[in-house]
């Protein structure tokens, strides 16, 4: 068994399930949103604001935001452990990989908080 402490759930199975489920949810959410836009040709700001101030839409959007962060983390972590390795970068690989992963976490956290602010109009 290969161990790793920086992956999302420390288990390949867990990460895989999270990535698959969030992918399905994000597909449904964004296809639904695009469908709504396509079916509302006269979409204006008032209607858009009403949609996003409904509690069900806030729940759905917040879940989409969290799902996006989880999905992106699994994907970016995978990319970092594929391409930022000692085979390709030499002895500095661990530092570079950890820095990249840290930057990803910070950016995702900022997007999450910022997204909540926008959603709730705080």
């Amino acid at each position: 068994m290969v161990t790793n402490v920086t992956s999302f759930g420390r288990s390949g199975l867990y990460d895989w399930v999270v990535q698959r489920l969030t992918a399905v949810y994000l597909a449904v959410y964004f296809v639904g949103l695009l469908g709504y836009m396509a079916l509302s040709p006269d979409l204006d700001f008032e209607q858009w604001r009403d949609l996003f101030s409904a509690t069900w839409m806030r729940v759905a959007s917040l879940f989409a935001l969290v799902a996006l962060c989880a999905h992106a983390w699994v994907g970016l972590w995978t990319i970092s452990t594929d391409y930022l390795t000692s085979d390709l970068l030499g002895s500095k690989a661990s530092v570079i990989r950890f820095a990249f992963q840290s930057a990803c976490v910070i950016v995702m956290f900022i997007y999450l908080v910022w997204g909540i602010q926008i959603l709730w109009g705080l």
Binding site: M1, V2, R10, S11, G12, L13, D87
Partner: protein, 234 residues
């Protein structure tokens, strides 16, 4: 015909090079790539490659033939020539020992990790462990692997993490023992595969399926392992 051959002798060369050979092929016959190599070796005895059975059973002469991994002994020249030229390189991603000969150490290490033998904790019967024809059928498409390494060395996930990702060949064999009704170590085997690298580095690229000279499907086996892991954990 023009043959471009990867040449590297670490004792003499500072880096690998491609060397071109012009060769007359007998008319009216479609030779195999291995036959061409044998003819070339008569021209230049320093050319190195592995070979043994010359009929696609031993798995010794896996190499990169005009960009696609395959067994030289069962790949016809007509199918492997691009624009009148045949390009032969060693299997990608493994250290080159000399010319087309690669060091398969890391590939075998991954094979060893999955414990490629029956484990059964029950007392051995007097003669043999029996298996129903239905259970035996479950091993079809799995046991035929000849460990030529064509699949694993064509897999980008294996290129990036050859020390951590088991690779398609190893995982096909892992499932061969997971699926065997006579094996009782299923749970321990699955526990060893649950980490983020061993199985889950497979991104479903399916290069393994495209190049397997025996027509096997490691991606399907990996899917079965994932399902077994999921069933065990939920």
């Amino acid at each position: 015909m023009l043959v471009s051959l990867y040449r590297y002798n670490p004792e003499v060369d500072s880096k690998p090079r491609m060397q071109d050979y012009e060769i007359e092929l007998p008319a009216g016959k479609d030779l195999m790539v291995l036959d061409v190599l044998e003819l070339l070796k008569r021209q230049d005895p320093s050319i190195s490659y592995r070979r043994s059975c010359r009929e696609g059973v031993c798995g010794s002469d896996g190499m990169n033939i005009s960009g696609t991994n395959g067994l030289a002994c069962i790949t016809p020249v007509s199918a492997a020539t691009r624009g009148g030229k045949l390009v032969l390189r060693p299997l990608p991603g493994l250290p080159v020992v000399r010319d087309l000969v690669v060091d398969m150490g890391v590939f075998y290490k991954q094979f060893e990790k999955i414990q490629p033998f029956l484990i059964n904790s029950t007392p051995a019967p007097a003669i043999e462990r029996l298996q129903s024809p239905e259970d035996r059928e479950k091993l079809d498409g799995l046991y035929e692997c000849i460990l030529c390494a064509c699949c694993s060395t064509n897999c980008p996930s294996f290129w990036w993490n050859p020390d951590k990702f088991i690779g398609p060949a190893g995982l096909l064999q892992a499932y061969r023992f997971l699926a065997d009704s006579r094996d009782t170590a299923t749970d321990a085997r699955l526990a060893d595969l649950e980490d983020p690298f061993s199985v889950f580095r497979c991104r479903g690229i399916m290069n393994c399926v495209a190049v397997c000279p025996k027509g096997l499907n490691p991606t399907r086996a990996i899917g079965h392992i994932r399902s077994m892991l999921l069933q065990r954990a939920t």
